[in-house]
Amino acid sequence: MELLASIAALCAIAMLLLVIGTVAQRGAPALSVGFFTNVDAAFLQTGGGIENAIVGTLIMTGIATAMAVPVGVLLAIFSTEFAPPPVAAAVRMTLNVLAGVPTIVIGVFVYGLLVVGRGQSSFAAAVALAIIMLPLIARSTEEVLLLVPSTLREGGMALGATRARTVLTVILPTAFGGVITATIVAVARAAGETAPIIFTSSIFANAVVTDPSQPMASLPYTIFTKSELPSASDQQQAWAAALVLISFVLLGSIIGRLLSIRTRRQIEQTR
């Protein structure tokens, strides 16, 4: 039985290494300075790069983060510090349900909300990404807030501070590392999402676009379309773009994970 369980774990690790290895092996040859500093090549021409896709992914994820982090952190504060237990349970339930809504459905939702009648925009894509990030940020911030020892809360109150002041000056700073961690993990997740983008930011100029009211290229969408093209150079670009994306996503996940272990340890030391 122990053998079987070890084999199962090995299988998962093997799949991870297999996918990463294949992406690295096929993508690395196409990486060059020009790949990062050029936009996609014109039709029937080779070369070209993913500059516009990288810029687009950074801008869209950035806008989404700016929307999702404040709301997510406030939600966590509300459910841990202010809400009566049944309300907190309802908030938690809603967060889990929202986290379970398929991302393609969120794409359909934002399409109807922001794209119909107005046309595509990277802002619409960012709203869709923010909806995906929100439950991730709120839930992991909440977990960290709950780790903050109650002695700190009581200490703040005993000093005559209001609950709000205790939250803002004692609890949030203690949990700050946790908020950062939650943000990193959510950004890594959002940067790789394709489904919310394909209806909201998929018809774009082949140039670096920085205006959020216009649709932009993005790394996931570039991989998505180029993976289905027959030409070998397109496919190689898809692999290279995947290598860039996966490095970013995995790095974010690893850093987030290590930070969260550190934050937990630090908070536990304050107990």
Partner: protein, 320 residues
Amino acid sequence: MSMESPQPLTLPTRSRPRFGDLGLRTIAGSAAVVLTAIMVAIVYQVVREAHASIGQFGLGFLTDNEWNAVTNRFGALDLIWGTLYSSLLALLIAVPVAIAIGLYLSELAPSFLRTPVALMVELLAAIPSVVLGLWGILVLGPFLADHVEPFLGDNLGFIPLFSGTPSSHGMLPAVVVLTIMIVPIVASISRELFSSVPSDLKQGAMALGATRWEMVRSVAIPQVSGGLVAAVMLGFARAVGEAIAVSQVIGGTLNQSWSLFAPADTMAGRIASQYQGAATALQRSSLAYLAVILLVISLIANVSAQLISGRIQRRMGIRT
């Protein structure tokens, strides 16, 4: 996806909240209003987009296998088949593997291996689905079509599962890709579940002379069986809702075949591939109808998974 979270601390409060408290409370509370508004708006908007199709086809949409933009007749039966078939097959493979990984990480692995192995399993979940799809379409699909499917067809072709012509796009690569996606989800939940079994129960069983396997089988698994059901439901919901990677590898063909080699399509995959370029308003509305079905499945799966795990936590005396 934490299955347990400690109870929020309730402190004795002053009879009248102070002004600063009220301010922060209002701002934080408004975030909860935003959350509720998003959830309600998603349901409202998607149902509204599907309204024309729901009015036209009603529940017959679920039992009609025609999907034709020329005659403007749409039914979801083949897509429902493709969705359920691919998701259930993926679950069938993923669940035993994932539970074994959960056991390995919580009970069996040497302690110095637990953190790195758990991290790697988590990273598997972090791979963007479009990258898995890229790998599926260019590496996995051709490999299955050239090596695995001919072998299965030659030797086990009498089973309907392995009948038909090998193809690089089809059910089999979709099932493999979905399996890779579900395993880490179910594995990390089952690891948490097994870790939550009180150690005196585990040690008690061992002290009575049970082997590790007997302890797992007779103590750990029965303790968390409800939670495992919840984990399986969440994995199922994830598989049903996956659009991108599946649309890349499954072939996008309407089909109701037992064959793993045949191309098929799923509800989420069809939305991904057709929503943008829908030929008629009714087609777009019918795709939104598919989104409504996905939404209903995900709501049911998530809510019941939470009810189940909430009940277990109360029973096991874990603070919720």
